[in-house]
């Protein structure tokens, strides 16, 4: 209901008889002050006397300053603008090309006042519309509409194809993956061979001479050298043999430790 809306409180009244009663607190900015002052002219806003309005506003601000009221900057800006407008209206001089003329400035101000006034009235009208929950009521206890959720499974051709492919791939791996037998000479092989051969001799002999003789493949031969050397180190560690090398990169000699030193 309109009468319950606080906005209906009018803007602070400016008594026409004593127009200089200053109460800035209640105003919503300089345009609001102007609008309130304009209403005193009691004419259609479109026909308002801007000159008179400017005078009223300037007097209003002057009074406030006399009372040393703190005046926000925008009120002062408006005062300055109105003073300028007043001079333009009173002393018409050809304006520069891009500067608005006095009447144009006045028209702009009138428009602004009319627009704000229109919005103010619109706000009043909106607020006096029958309001839901105050004047008009919705269904108090709607029965509600039952929502039945149904799960629908979806599948795409791609899903099917991919699943089939994945499945086949997994199965193939499970069935056929096995480690290829190593074709390299292992350290186990070398250990076995050294043990066997060293058992027969306690003379110093080159390590190379213990390599298996039948190897032709280069990769296999190199693996045999590495494995035999590693095996010899292992046997030294376990105290079965000793090694000797007289110079860097020179031949490595190996012999079994005599029984009493083992």
């Amino acid at each position: 209901m309109a009468d319950e809306e606080p906005f209906e409180d009018p803007a602070p009244a400016v008594d026409p008889a004593t127009p200089l009663v200053v109460a800035l607190d209640g105003y919503e900015g300089p345009i609001d002050v102007l609008l309130t002052l304009a209403r005193q002219q009691k004419v259609d806003l479109a026909k308002i006397s801007i000159l008179q309005l400017a005078d009223q506003y300037l007097a209003f601000i002057a009074a406030a300053r006399r009372l040393r009221l703190e005046i926000a900057a925008d009120y002062l800006v408006m005062a300055a603008w109105l003073a300028f407008l007043k001079s333009r209206l009173l002393l018409p001089e050809p304006p520069a090309d891009d500067a608005p003329s006095g009447p144009e400035m006045a028209e702009a101000l009138t428009f602004q006042l009319r627009r704000l006034e229109a919005m103010r009235e619109a706000g009043t009208k909106i607020m006096s519309l029958p309001r839901l929950g105050q004047d008009v009521f919705e269904r108090g206890a709607p029965d509600g509409i039952e929502v039945v959720r149904r799960v629908v499974y979806r599948v795409t051709l791609y899903d099917v194809l991919k699943a089939y492919g994945d499945q086949r791939r997994r199965k193939i791996k499970a069935e056929s993956y096995h480690l290829a037998a190593s074709t390299l000479y292992s350290m186990d092989d070398a250990l076995k061979r050294l043990n066997e051969l060293l058992g027969q001799s306690i003379e110093w002999k080159t390590l190379v001479s213990y390599l298996p003789p039948e190897i032709g493949d280069e990769l296999l031969r190199r693996s045999a050298v590495a494995a035999t050397f590693a095996a010899s180190l292992e046997l030294v560690r376990s105290g079965r043999i000793e090694l000797r090398q007289s110079q860097a990169f020179g031949p490595i000699y190996v012999r079994r430790l005599p029984e009493d030193r083992q």
Binding site: M1, E4, E5, P6, F7, D9, A11, E28, G29, P30, I31, D32, D74, D98, P100, S101, E104, M105, E107, A108, L109, F111, Q112, R114, R115, L116, A118, M119, R120, E121, A122, G123, T124, K125, I126, M127, L129, P130, R131, L132, G133, Q134, D135, V136, F137, E138, R139, P142, D143, G144, I145
Partner: protein, 215 residues
């Protein structure tokens, strides 16, 4: 199924739903090819002058109690939501000028908007951001919500009080007065929309029908 059955169904549906339903939602419950608009019109006719009326709010259909019963229905005195003058003006400006930027609201009111004013309207779910203005800084533009239309019982923004007259009077233009009335601008820069057009926010649902836009 007879047509009367369809009418009964729509009646029950709107009654049970409690909330406004659009015609598509209603049609989903009817046999293919049913004339939803005709059924709704018949139903609205049936309830005309009764204690309950079938109304269109924010483009959707809903049952409401008749307006004239307001005083007799009010059981305990409701405390109406108290809006400040600033909030009411801001709401009106957003409603009539949407999509509108905050700066434009301030321009119209001739005063800066305090943070609380916008917050109150946002909190009440009466205004919402609707997009961004394609101008430097890409400021957010604001409009009213479906909730707003529901609460004040308007079928659409075109039903805002006096909107046609205000538009005809050229008063629905949020630009600074000096720009609107400045030399050589009146009636010439009306199509500035190319540069200052608005872009909607992402997928924020359908934008409300613009009541007016005068740019």
């Amino acid at each position: 199924m007879t047509e009367g059955d369809d009418l009964r169904l729509v009646e029950a549906l709107l009654f049970a739903a409690g909330e406004p339903l659009d015609e598509a939602q209603i049609a989903a419950h009817l046999p293919e090819g049913a004339d939803v608009a005709a059924i709704l019109a018949a139903l609205a006719g049936h309830y005309a002058g009764r204690g309950i009326t079938l109304r269109q709010v924010a483009g959707k259909w809903v049952f409401r109690t008749a307006e004239d019963l307001a005083s007799r229905l009010r059981i305990e005195k409701m405390t109406p939501r108290k809006l400040s003058r600033a909030a009411i003006e801001t709401l009106a400006i957003v409603a009539y000028h949407q999509p509108v930027t905050r700066a434009e609201v301030e321009e119209i009111r001739g005063v800066a908007i305090s943070k609380g004013t916008f917050d109150i309207l946002l909190d009440a779910d009466w205004i919402r951001p609707v997009g961004r203005r394609r101008t430097p800084g890409r400021p957010t533009t604001w409009g009213t919500t479906e909730r707003f239309l529901q609460e004040v019982g308007l079928a659409s923004l075109a039903d805002l009080p006096g909107v046609d007259e205000l538009k005809a009077a050229g008063l629905l233009d949020p630009r600074p007065a000096s720009v609107i009335l400045g030399p050589g601008t009146v009636g010439e820069e009306d199509d500035a929309g190319d540069e200052t057009g608005d872009e909607p926010l992402g997928d924020d649902g359908p934008r409300p029908t613009r009541a007016t836009r005068a740019d």
